[in-house]
């Protein structure tokens, strides 16, 4: 897990504690996007091998 994901999850927790659920959802979606993107990139790398 890179620092960007850590920062996003930290922000997600902060939004949850502040009951800002809209931004919490957005932040979680960003984390999911990054994770999915990493998986796709890894799959592309594996395919190139």
């Amino acid at each position: 897990m890179d620092n960007k994901q850590k920062a996003l999850i930290t922000n997600f927790l902060k939004c949850l504690t502040e009951k800002d659920y809209s931004n919490a959802k957005k932040t979680l979606q960003q984390v999911m996007d990054i994770k999915l993107q990493n998986r796709i990139q890894n799959a592309v790398k594996d395919l190139k091998k």
Partner: protein, 292 residues
């Protein structure tokens, strides 16, 4: 005791006093004794009270002092104990905030990340992603191959290749012809404009004197039609003004020269020159000179 008093009085009085009198004397004696006893008892009690109260006060004071000292010790001991405990609590919570909270936060972030990974594993399996990537790459490769094969197949056939080459040749020729035609059109447009300008200038200056015509042709000979239409009248006025100034200057100079020049000679010259010169511009100032 009471019997003794009655007995004593009986013996002393030898039955002079009646039994009733003896009883009254005994009662009076007992009452008197009782009063005195009572007084003594009260006095003793009051003295005892005072003594006891003094002693009790002293005792209470001593107990108070002792209790105060003990309580002070207890309070200070409790204070020390509580302050030590509070310090320990503060240190513990500071440590908890700084260290344990950090570690808890780190663990929570890792747990959330792990959960999200697991969720992604469940929702979008890695195999599906691999398949999708492979399909995408295969599609791209297939599209490239299709393009390549389509062009090659079209060019590979002899008839189509000749047609393509012929079409390219025709397109190149047509492009060259178009460019040369554009060039010719530009040249022709320039010549046409020049001819139109010359014709317009000729029409406008047809009835003008020769010097004006030369002047106009000199200034506007190489201009286009729009420029001539726009500036012709202004140029003509400019020429007339210049001509008037020139005539005025000549007139002034002639006026100066008349003082030293023989009048007869001037008249002869003036008489000869108008006949030989047709120029309107010279006629103007010569006619003025002839007056002198």
């Amino acid at each position: 005791m009471s019997k003794n008093v009655v007995d004593v009085l009986k013996e002393a009085t030898k039955d002079i006093l009646s039994e009733q009198t003896l009883n009254e004397i005994q009662q009076a004696f007992e009452a008197s004794v009782n009063e005195k006893v009572k007084i003594h008892v009260e006095k003793a009690l009051s003295e005892q009270d005072e003594d006891h109260s003094k002693k009790l006060e002293a005792l209470v004071e001593a107990i108070d002092k002792d209790h105060v000292a003990k309580l002070n010790k207890v309070v200070s001991a409790i204070d020390e104990n509580h302050s030590g405990k509070l310090k320990a609590i503060v240190e513990k919570y500071q440590g908890a905030l700084s260290n344990e909270a950090k570690s808890f936060k780190k663990e929570t972030i890792n747990d959330i990340s792990t959960y999200l990974e697991a969720y992604l594993d469940e929702v979008v399996p890695a195999e599906d992603i691999k398949k999708a990537v492979a399909n995408r790459k295969a599609n791209d490769t297939l599209a490239k191959v299709r393009n390549l094969l389509a062009v090659d197949a079209a060019i590979a056939q002899e008839s189509i290749r000749e047609a393509v080459l012929d079409g390219k040749k025709q397109l190149d020729e047509a492009r060259k012809e178009l460019e040369s035609a554009k060039g010719r059109v530009v040249v022709l447009e320039k010549e046409l404009n020049k001819a139109q300008a010359s014709l317009l200038l000729e029409q406008k200056t047809r009835e003008l004197p020769e010097n004006k015509k030369k002047f106009i042709h000199k200034l506007m000979g190489n201009k286009d039609v729009a420029f001539i239409n726009e500036n012709y009248d202004y140029t003509l006025k400019l020429f007339n003004k210049t001509e008037e100034e020139r005539l005025s200057n000549i007139r002034d100079e002639a006026a100066k020269q008349t003082e030293t020049v023989d009048r007869v000679v001037v008249e002869e010259a003036a008489a000869e020159k108008p006949a030989s010169n047709d120029d309107d511009s010279t006629n103007g100032y010569l006619s003025e000179l002839s007056r002198w």
